[in-house]
Symmetry: C2
Subunit: 343 residues, 2 copies
DNA sequence: ACAGAAAATGATTGCGCTGTCATTTTTCGT
DNA sequence: ACGAAAAATGACAGCGCAATCATTTTCTGT
């Protein structure tokens, strides 16, 4: 329905502002998007008109006309997992005070769901995309490869990244933790892991290889479950570990929830930590260092990953191909605390 | 630039599908949006054409033409806070298998930032909006009141909700917890709170009123900080509490992070819980019940809030005015565990 | 003061879709 | 088998903005 007369309730448009300011619509558009190419005089008139009318641009119209948006898509496998909460914080800090805003997609550890989200996000013509793994479906990967916007893959660092990547060597991090247990004199280390997504699986494999190479591998000390990770699950897994391998003297947990749960279960069983059981955690979220005893952990650079990812993305959006180092290894750091410190 | 010949790389449009299927564009549009009003024959042709061309609708064009989107905005004050992670989960479960998708905005406990996000979200013509408080700025509130879409305010339950609301009585919940401490025989209860956003402030006030009414109020046992809540902060606050009121015999923590931190600090100080110090937590996230000793807590219905909020919103989007009970009180439940159970 | 370059501004058109209303086809009762 | 009602389909225009290219204004050096 073509409506010549504008109803009062309608939001003002560019044209309204233009008329109010006595300039053309395109000048208003330019005043908003690149004020530096508009004369001082026009800019002031337009800004005043925008103020008077309470004008807000319509992102849909802008997206349609320009074929792009100010949206940055961020795909994470979980919102409950504190690991990604930290990544998010890093990302948010980086978009702050830019014209971009972040849209989060939660694919709940389902690659298929992730593929759907990639398709959905791309249909919205985002300015850029951050994805939390390198484990896309083949079709998901193809979509990323042919995406018309820059893409950053975070967390892992693996061959054949689609465009850019920021992360650290997860296997090296696990190895570092396992080595530490050996250094502390533990000889029968176990491994606890939940969820068993591809990344968890790779870490487990890293542990297996390391343990085997050092002659301390015991398959009955490796306890996993496909269920989600939680503090309660950490307790259950430790329980299972002790029932099938009572001689276990240390345990490497695939994340902090499990480690805290294991610590509590040890306490309930009156198993002394670190004397009878060493506990080493992975990620090192805030709570771990405040446990009693404080948990030794491999700290992963989650927040920095978020920061660097958004940094690279924004640079690449500003000018395609401008980012030199397209693959950043941020490393990991072993935080030695009481839970493995035995006399 | 009008381009008559379509470049290969371009995404197919409705018109392309229409031509491929031998129908008009509007029929394709209808096949996608309301297949029931299209004939079996046409629908099949269109679906085949969509499949062949790999067509994906352009949401920007759709938004522009129809003046609405399938986006549901969800404003939360924090993504780190597990409380909102649970709410999110409830919401996500509800939009699953609908045509809607959730866009999250994080205003980091800043009402001003929240106002900006409300404005930004509204400019995108969302189908509905969920906001996590009743503490908007006056302008933020005005925006919500005049929003052209349904709005649900969650968590709190207060007079003068803008449109719909789901939550529980936070003050009643605090009172329940405080009453429990008295019932257990604790007579000098303290209160620990961080962040001190308006909601935390109201809970503190609730505690004050209750304690005063029961003759157990001690202002020096109320320890707060404007800094964010964390496990470490729980330890610090307890430390401060003991230094300025050593006779404190119980502590009500404004959330689980603080409670866990307080528990650990008590352990470090060799203060026996629950004998010398009772600890009661607020919210009851998963980890609390697995601590040693397990933490007594007022469980808040976070996930259910998310579920009910999205339920109401979707019903209201489907048909304005169709929701009967526009203000739901989901209550709270005291979970009594070891941290307050003394002989 | 003037030509030429640079800066500022504007007219036009189309992005891809859906609302509206008109037209065609099908269905149904008698 | 016929007309009326209902169902299905289509033509057209416009949503609000930005890309393009043309035009006007301002600035520069001599």
């Amino acid at each position: 329905m073509g409506r010549k007369t504008r109803m009062i309730s309608d939001r003002p448009t560019l044209a309204d502002v233009a008329q109010e300011a006595g300039v053309s619509a395109i000048t208003v558009s330019r005043t908003i998007r690149s004020p530096e190419i508009v004369s001082e005089r026009a800019r002031r008139k337009v800004e005043a008109a925008i103020e008077r009318l309470g004008y807000t641009p319509d992102p849909a119209a802008s997206a349609l006309a320009s074929r792009t948006t100010s949206t940055i898509g961020l795909l994470v496998p979980s919102l409950t997992n504190n690991v990604f909460a930290d990544v998010l914080r890093g990302v948010y800090e980086g978009v702050e005070s830019t014209r971009f805003f972040v849209q989060i997609g939660n694919y709940r550890y389902s690659a298929l769901h992730e593929e759907g989200l990639i398709r959905n996000f791309l249909s919205q013509k985002p300015a850029g995309l951050i994805v939390s793994s390198t484990d896309q479906t083949p079709e998901g990967r193809r979509l990323l490869e042919t995406a018309p916007c820059p893409v950053v893959q975070i967390m892992d660092l693996r061959d054949g990244a689609v465009d850019m990547s920021v992360g650290f060597d997860q296997v090296a991090a696990v190895r570092k933790a396992a080595q530490h247990l050996l250094d502390c004199g533990y000889r029968r280390p176990g491994f606890l892991s939940a969820r068993m997504d591809p990344r968890a699986q790779r870490r487990l494999n890293g542990f297996r290889d390391f343990a085997a190479a050092n002659g301390v591998l015991g398959e009955d000390r490796i306890i996993t479950t496909p269920q989600p990770s939680s503090v309660g699950m950490g307790g259950h897994l430790l329980e299972q570990l002790f029932s099938q391998a009572p001689d276990t003297d240390a345990v490497l947990c695939n994340n902090d929830d499990l480690a805290v749960g294991a610590l509590m279960e040890a306490k309930r069983r009156h198993v002394a930590v670190p004397e009878q059981l060493g506990i080493c955690s992975y990620n090192d979220i805030e709570m771990s260092r405040h446990m009693v005893p404080a948990l030794t952990a491999v700290a992963t650079p989650r927040r920095e990953i978020g920061q660097r990812a958004i940094e690279m993305l924004l640079a690449e959006i500003a000018e395609r191909g401008s980012v030199r180092d397209r693959h950043l290894d941020l490393g990991s750091e072993l935080m030695i605390r009481e839970s493995t410190r035995r006399a």
